[in-house]
């Protein structure tokens, strides 16, 4: 795996009067789980789209190791974006580029508890199951960076917790560089190695914090809440962003 540097000097939408992103420098360390935390509408999705190569109308540069290019990505969108006319397994297979072995799908389906649903069409899945399929698809392509855009939004709390735990289990089995976007600080603390707090209009990095909680303690609500309180006390600059 390779470190990824993101430098965006300016991103302004054609109809906007001021930039959405200005002088943003991010460094993603190999196999690190990074959470971007910022207010709604601050441009987090725009940033992910730039990294994914979906939005090329910006000034800046993305460096993957020594390469000036967009990284190979696995993208988990807010909406799972599965092809409704393809089964769960076909949706995952279609994302593979021929370099990955199809057996990887069996392993991923098993970890995400979807083996029994692999020949089902997405319309018959619950939202939580669809999100798990999207996670499998993203891991299956063995990406250089996994982009996750609030993938647990609109799930009820128990389902969100279950999917989050499965995601962490999968990530620990198959470590990848992750850039996870959320506006939920508790969720970010439960998942991340490193938190990056972003301001809005234009988006800039306000603060970076390493999460010291051990991985086996991430399910402990008390530990999460205690760190959250400590964070808000020690970093008053992040309060307006939440």
């Amino acid at each position: 795996m390779t470190d990824i540097q993101i430098n965006i000097s300016n991103k302004t939408y054609p109809t906007a009067t001021k930039p959405s992103i200005e002088d943003l420098k991010l460094s993603l360390n190999s196999n690190e789980f990074t959470c971007l935390v910022g207010p709604s509408g601050c441009g987090k999705t725009t940033l992910l789209n730039i990294i994914a190569g979906l939005d090329n109308d910006y000034d800046g540069d993305i460096l993957v190791g020594e390469r000036h290019t967009h990284p190979k990505i696995g993208y988990i969108f807010q909406n799972p974006r599965l092809l409704p006319w393809r089964t769960v397994r076909e949706n995952i297979e279609l994302a593979l580029d021929g370099n990955q072995s199809p057996e990887v799908i069996d392993e991923l389906l098993e970890v995400m508890q979807l083996t029994a649903a692999q020949h089902v069409y997405p319309e018959r899945l619950s939202l939580g199951m669809s999100r798990r399929v999207a996670i499998i698809r993203a891991f299956a392509v063995d990406p250089e960076v996994l982009l996750m855009d609030e993938p647990f939004v609109s799930l009820d709390a128990p389902t969100a917790r279950q999917v989050r735990e499965l995601l962490l289990k999968l990530w620990q089995q198959r470590p990848h560089t992750v850039l996870f976007v959320t506006h939920d600080l508790r969720e970010a603390i439960a998942l991340a190695d490193r938190l990056i707090f972003l301001s809005a209009s234009p988006m800039r990095v306000v603060s970076e914090v390493i999460v010291p909680i051990a991985r086996n303690e991430r399910g402990n609500e008390l530990a999460i809440e205690s760190f959250r309180q400590q964070l808000l006390k020690n970093h008053p600059e992040i309060k307006p962003l939440l």
């Binding site: 789209n49 994914a52 190569g53 979906l54 190979k72 990505i73 696995g74 993208y75 969108f77 909406n79 974006r81 092809l83 409704p84 006319w85 393809r86 279609l94 994302a95 580029d97 069409y121 319309e123 018959r124 698809r137 392509v141």
Partner: protein, 241 residues
């Protein structure tokens, strides 16, 4: 219920024909007799076959070209803006004018007949598929880009399934439109086919034969719907609840 409705229609027709007792409205039984005689003599299957062949060739060309051009225009705003007026012009040129011009320019030959039908149908297909392409789900296209789908993979697995209802709509309206145009094409410039025969029966005031040929053609179109289009629909939409 459909059978009952059909029987009611036939009964109404039979009753009206007996009541009017005129050569201009033969009974269904008389039409069935003419139909059978046409089949036995081989005349009806021959002319029906010739018309069907023209229908298949012109329909295939119009659909293939129309789908390709429709997708390109739906995805490219500049090209669409450039060719939009052309489409409006071709949509509004009367079918009869196109047919006459094709015969005048290229002679009374088979290719001119096919070309006339294609020119009449093509703009409809282009417009329908262009609208379908404009309505494509951008989220799914972005997903395909993120996962680096090839152009072929994107077309087959992302674009085409979304265009399916539009293609089927163009197919159904196309079949209905094309066979009507083909009859005019045959009437004006061919020496065989349903249109040629209908013209002949018109001159002889032979309404029973006109109705027998019409029934035969409508039955063929119904068979196409039942044996080809409906199964295609079922297969393509099997993912729906």
């Amino acid at each position: 219920m459909p059978t009952l409705s059909l029987l009611a229609f036939l009964a109404l027709w039979q009753g009206l024909a007996i009541y009017l007792n005129s050569n201009t409205l033969p009974t269904p039984v008389a039409v069935a007799k003419v139909f059978w005689q046409g089949c036995v003599s081989g005349q009806l299957p021959f002319h029906l076959g010739v018309t069907l062949l023209r229908l298949i060739v012109s329909f295939a060309i119009a659909m293939l070209l129309g789908c390709a051009i429709g997708i390109v225009l739906g995805r490219n705003k500049k090209l669409d803006a450039f060719f939009d007026n052309w489409l409006v012009i071709f949509l509004n040129v009367p079918a009869l004018v196109t047919i006459i011009l094709c015969y005048v320019w290229f002679g009374l030959v088979e290719s001119a007949a096919i070309l006339a039908v294609v020119i009449n149908k093509l703009p409809n297909v282009i417009v329908t598929i262009r609208e379908g392409t404009r309505a494509l789900d951008q989220d799914l296209l972005d997903m395909a880009r993120c996962y680096r789908f090839s152009k072929r993979k994107t077309l087959v697995h992302v674009i085409w399934p979304q265009l399916h209802p539009f293609v089927m709509g163009a197919t159904r309206s196309g079949l209905a439109l094309i066979w009507k145009i083909i009859l005019v094409v045959e009437l004006l410039g061919r020496s065989n086919g349903m249109g040629y025969q209908l013209h002949l029966f018109f001159q002889l005031f032979d309404v029973a034969s006109i109705l027998a040929y019409t029934v035969a053609f409508v039955a063929v179109i119904q068979l196409i719907e039942l044996l080809i289009l409906k199964p295609l629909d079922k297969k393509a939409l099997r993912w729906r609840r």
